[in-house]
Symmetry: C2
Subunit: 103 residues, 2 copies
């Protein structure tokens, strides 16, 4: 089986890496403005977070919109397609929680 | 949320990366000897595959045993604990298959 034939690899190409799981987990709960995401995910830089968000947007997983308020905030949310990741994210979170409790 | 607080990140620390999804997907189907895994996952080297298998073994996900045949083959299989990854692997594979069919 080559990497490009493995569906698990295909999924992890889109949602894996250091920051995307945190971004997706946050957006799964509710839409976030950019500044909120930065505060919620300490350790990432503005540049890195922007790039990760762009990749997720290009993959159709998240949507970006400019909020019509004075400061033109940018808000990110899961797209309907990104919502289809729900079962995979939940299964990973369940297993991760179990793994952390392991002696 | 820091990385070490995200259960999805915890799970992907264990099963993510370039080769582990392929190894786990193969072992989820059936136990494999080392040589079988190498043939099934072209592109990896003996050294890299060995290291990946050791990491999965240390994490308690897979088990290694020496087959009592003349050539002392080594066989790898999912441990009972590794079997608890089933739902997460299936959910990722389902989503990955869906994502690949996307226009």
């Amino acid at each position: 089986m080559r990497i490009d034939e493995c569906n698990v690899s295909t999924a992890l190409d889109v949602i894996g890496g250091k920051w995307k799981p945190l971004i997706l987990w946050a957006l799964k709960q509710k839409p976030h403005r950019f500044g909120e995401l930065r505060r919620k995910i300490p350790g990432t830089s503005q540049k890195v977070l922007t790039e990760q968000l762009r990749q997720l947007e290009r993959a159709g997983i998240i949507e970006r919109r400019i909020l019509p308020d004075k400061r033109a905030h940018t808000e990110y949310r899961l797209s309907p397609y990104g919502g289809t990741l729900g079962p995979a994210l939940m299964a990973l979170a369940d297993w991760g929680a179990r793994h952390r409790k392991r002696p």
